[in-house]
């Protein structure tokens, strides 16, 4: 049974068909990559899965429940977390506070609890801060916990976004170009990190332009072009697929 099943997904913006009849499955414990030329609709697919856009047609089933039409925050609560292609951190807040944003949906205290600072609320805060520090440790940012998020380097900001997403306790982590703007050493670290995340039992779905990364870590790859799926398979299969080669030769791969 697939953890995430995308079926015949279609979305258009004012006449422009951005995603057309896209279907694919992601199974528990996998690392799946979505690739394709610019404008192929990859990010739109992510936005559809995470509830930011509503699909015109099609079905998205996560853990045997349809999530079409659910609000983004509800989808997060169900266990899908994401990062953004253009980094969207709360740059005027501290690194730790950014991670705490992810922990929000796994906490329960409300206005009264906060004002009265009840024992339950204090315990919850303490636990979540410890957990957030552990996650910062995982991505290697524990020493920067009280820095402003906006002051971090580009690569570190991407890592912080991952830590923030992990704080939501996802079962599926969606990464939109996690290696974008990273140098080679950072990319190597990232590959290791994604491996570690998978080992913790989190399924990973990612968009990446860096073929090196994709081929190294993905077990399965979905290829999109002009909003439609043109291929699906293991890295080896994709590398030898004539349509994929054509698509990639026909367009400029770099952004």
């Amino acid at each position: 049974m697939a953890l995430l099943s995308v079926q015949r997904l279609t979305k258009s913006f004012g006449g422009l068909l951005a995603v057309h009849n896209v279907s694919f499955d992601v199974f528990s414990g996998e690392i799946v990559g979505i690739i394709g030329p610019n404008g192929a609709g990859k990010t739109t697919v992510f936005n559809l899965i995470t509830g930011i856009y509503k699909p015109d047609q099609g079905e998205i089933v996560f853990d045997q429940h349809s999530i079409v039409g659910k609000a983004p925050h509800d989808i997060v609560k169900l266990g899908i977390a994401r990062t953004f292609q253009t980094i969207r951190l709360f740059s005027n807040l501290s690194v730790l506070e950014n991670v705490m944003a992810g922990a929000h949906c796994r906490m329960s205290s409300g206005v009264l609890g906060a004002m009265l600072r009840l024992p339950g609320q204090r315990r919850e805060e303490r636990e979540k801060i410890e957990e957030a520090m552990e996650l910062l440790g995982l991505v290697g940012l524990q020493d920067f916990y009280d820095y402003l998020a906006g002051s971090l380097s580009y690569g570190n900001q991407r890592l912080l976004e991952i830590a923030r997403a992990l704080a939501t306790h996802p079962r599926l982590l969606i990464l939109d170009e996690p290696a974008g703007g990273m140098n080679e050493r950072e990319t190597e670290e990232l590959i290791k990190l994604i491996g570690k995340i998978r080992d913790k039992g989190v399924t990973v779905l990612l968009i990446e332009h860096d073929m090196n990364v994709v081929m190294k870590i993905c077990e399965r790859i979905v290829v999109l072009e002009y909003g439609s799926t043109i291929a699906e398979g293991t890295p080896e299969e994709i590398q030898s697929n004539p349509r994929v080669i054509e698509a990639y030769l026909g367009t400029d791969e770099d952004e």
């Binding site: 506070e97 705490m100 944003a101 992810g102 205290s109 206005v111 805060e125 916990y145």
Partner: protein, 319 residues
């Protein structure tokens, strides 16, 4: 950062609470006015400062609280201070009803709608809506508050009532600011979309900020009614909303110290400038522009919160 918040308050609060002993009633009353606006500013700060929502109609909530208290006090003779939570509740429910359909509006659209709500409330009060608001006359003959049999009457007595409430508010709001709810509002202010994608129910928390802010404004309205013994629609005009909004931005949106300082400046300075008589509002306007240019982030912008980590106990200290 050498500033120690706890130490500052420990030193400043006792001194401040002794100040009325050497002031004449007029200046104590000015301080009372400042206290009321500090309350209103703190309540609006939840909406404008924390959640970043553009609200220029806060006087509506203030009015609902004041009128609820006044009507219940004059018709059923319920002691006014007992009505404090009722006034807050009424304003909170009112906010819930009006804010719900409009909460999804962005920035300036929300601004004009809040202005509209404020004006509708004011017009409704003037037109004696439901026959209970007394029209332009307002409501008069509100009984003076009593605490343990003592009637609160003089400015000095009100000083302790008002500023005690301010102190409690500041204490509670620091805790709110430094909690899951307070953080959620900050995330929304910083980036709505990212907050939603982190699992924060943005519409829900925007509504919370409105409801809690309105509740506090309603309670401030209760105290206002108790102090004035008469309330009328002109006390809740658009101009009042502008004052509250201005004092927040001037002091530093999102910062409690900033709001307190803003209240002192916005309400206190015109009193000190009284000698300039007719030209005082001219100076006031020019000063607003100058202060914004001089410190666009406000006089005391919020400082990033510091967390004590790995200590295992008592988090949330500001050092």
């Amino acid at each position: 950062m050498k500033f120690n918040r706890k130490r500052f308050y420990l030193a400043a609060v006792p001194i401040f609470f002794l100040v009325p002993l050497i002031l004449n009633p007029y200046w104590v009353d000015v301080l009372n006015s400042i206290g009321l606006y500090a309350l209103l500013g703190l309540s609006l700060n939840l909406i404008v400062g924390y959640a970043g929502l553009f609200n220029l109609g806060h006087a509506a909530f203030y009015a609902v609280g004041a009128y609820t208290s006044a009507i219940l006090n004059t018709t059923y003779h319920i002691p006014i201070l007992l009505l404090l939570p009722v006034a807050g509740l009424a304003a909170g429910i009112f906010a819930l009803i009006v804010a719900r359909p409009i909460i999804h509006l962005r920035g300036d659209y929300l601004c004009i709608v809040t202005i509209g709500v404020g004006e509708i409330v004011r017009i409704a009060l003037i037109n004696d809506v439901f026959g209970i608001t007394g029209g332009a006359n307002g409501i008069f003959g509100i009984a003076r508050p009593r605490i343990f049999g003592m009637v609160i009457r003089t400015p000095h007595q009100f000083f302790y009532l008002i500023w005690l409430f301010v102190a409690i508010t500041v204490f509670l709001f620091y805790r709110l600011e430094d909690s899951r709810v307070g953080r959620a509002l900050n995330y929304i202010r910083e980036d709505e979309m990212a907050a939603e994608a982190c699992g924060i129910n943005v519409a829900h928390y925007k509504l919370i900020s409105f409801v809690v802010g309105a509740t506090w404004a309603g309670m401030a309205g209760n105290i206002f009614a108790a102090k004035m013994t008469i309330i009328s629609p002109e006390s809740f005009s658009f101009w009042e909303s502008v004052l509250m909004f201005t004092l927040i931005i001037l002091g530093g949106a999102g910062s409690i110290e900033g709001v307190l300082l803003g209240a002192f400046l916005i309400i206190g300075l015109p009193e000190i400038f009284r000698e300039l008589s007719n030209a005082r509002m001219l100076f006031f306007g020019a000063a607003m522009i100058a202060m914004m240019i001089f410190r666009p982030e406000g006089l005391i912008p919020p400082v990033p919160k510091k967390y004590r980590v790995f200590s295992g106990t008592d988090r949330g200290e500001t050092t």
